[in-house]
Symmetry: C2
Subunit: 264 residues, 2 copies
């Protein structure tokens, strides 16, 4: 029977700047029943929040808007809001397009906001090394998750912003479907699906920042692999590089410039 199991233990202590995350997570997992400790083929999934906290990626909340500005590489779209500063959807320094550049005001002490980790793929690699050593494992994946909205759909899902020891995407191109036809375009974002799956067990308001996934071992790699950065898809080919309103306004402005008309 094809089966996947995900579990998320309680009891991770508060993570603060300087916490050795590999030790803290290793301790948490070592304290579980033997069957719930990491084994060959498992994927350990952690929220970016605890990675950020351990790295000290925390700034004062009064500077939230400035923090968003600082994390912004490129503004994609904005929307005025009656009850606050404009919503900004931006490309951040990790290439991720997100509301508020991924700056997070929840699950962090009052008066602070969390920035995203400096390099979540590197954090995933470090965590993988620590946990492989701790538990004596060869094949172990690590995924670092964050929460994001998406165009055309309400509500949020978790995605992978860091990954090590696991192929980020399951490339079936070259394979065939059940009718023997070539699968040309079916590339599955495995680590995003893993992130979403674990969110169902971790939750948001729970303090369960670590989960283990068993049954996805066919996606694991012997090396660290290319990381979740390979799922970033921005650049001049991006069909949604700008919000519709921003692109429209720019079209108007560009049309009127050579004619000496100001855009109104």
């Amino acid at each position: 029977m094809h089966r996947l199991t995900i579990w998320a233990p309680e009891g991770l202590p508060e993570i603060v700047a300087g916490t050795d995350l590999g030790v803290a997570i290793g301790d948490l997992l070592a304290a579980q029943e033997p069957a719930d400790r990491p084994a060959e083929g498992d994927v350990v999934v952690v929220t970016s929040k605890i990675v950020s906290k351990a790295e000290g990626q925390v700034v004062a909340a009064a500077d939230r808007e400035q923090a968003i500005t600082d994390e912004t590489v490129r503004v994609v779209a904005t929307r005025e809001r009656p009850d606050g500063p404009p919503l900004r959807i931006v490309e951040n320094r990790l290439g991720l397009v997100m509301a508020a550049a991924g700056v997070d005001a929840s699950n962090t002490p009052e008066g602070t906001v969390l920035l995203l980790p400096k390099d979540p793929d590197a954090s995933a690699r470090a965590l993988r090394a620590a946990l492989r050593a701790r538990f004596g494992l060869d094949r172990l994946g690590v995924v670092v998750t964050d929460t994001a909205g998406r165009p055309w759909r309400a509500a949020l899902v978790d995605i992978a912003i860091g990954a090590a020891g696991i192929a980020p995407a399951d490339d079936l191109r070259g394979g065939t479907d059940t009718h023997g036809r070539p699968l040309n375009v079916t590339v599955t974002a495995v680590v995003d699906e893993i992130a979403s799956a674990t969110e169902l067990v971790r939750g948001k308001a729970t303090g369960r920042a670590v989960a283990v996934v068993r049954g996805a071992d066919r996606h694991l790699s012997d090396d660290d692999g290319p990381g979740a950065a390979t799922l970033v898809r921005t650049g001049p080919e991006d069909l949604f590089r700008e919000g519709s309103r921003e692109a429209y306004d720019r079209g108007r402005a560009d049309a009127l410039k050579p004619l000496g008309h100001a855009a109104t």
Copy 2:
């Protein structure tokens, strides 16, 4: 321990137009070991492909481009391709924004393409009724999945296009985070995460079109609920209602019209 388990049995027969899906899936699940048959609190997840096949939502492949046109309510963005007709990202009749309007040329006999189900929420409700009766269950969720790309990220994930007996989103607004602060914006697309999670077990080229999820019972509802259609988020407020190039071109054209200039 917070735990989620997902399994996907083999052995669903080929589904064709007129197949009673409730019976076919019921038979499949009834043939499993007792622990793997649906129980109170489970969610049964099925691909839209088998729903489409059972409904006869199949058209001739030669008409794939026409089928896409017929399923299109509104073109969002297009991109020329050197080796085929332009890629069209469109809003289809279900409000879903997808490449090729969700018309599917894989996992269907040569010479045919699959359209999306006529009403996946209704299909979910019918399936829920059939399986509740078959297995004597009060609390059972059903989710119908499809595969979709997303802006700014490579590769595809599964999402929910139909749902019954389960809250589509986990609305934590009004709750508090681990620091006691109000969670104002954290609404999780639970059924999309369930769809993604099951894809890890179903796969694409496998014929495993049905999965069961155990451990998500807190999301279940006693009634059918509003369905996955509530996750559709389009309309005039949509910041990405048009592709950037389309919006830019329209801005240029609109700027030049009153001046009597043709847009070049």
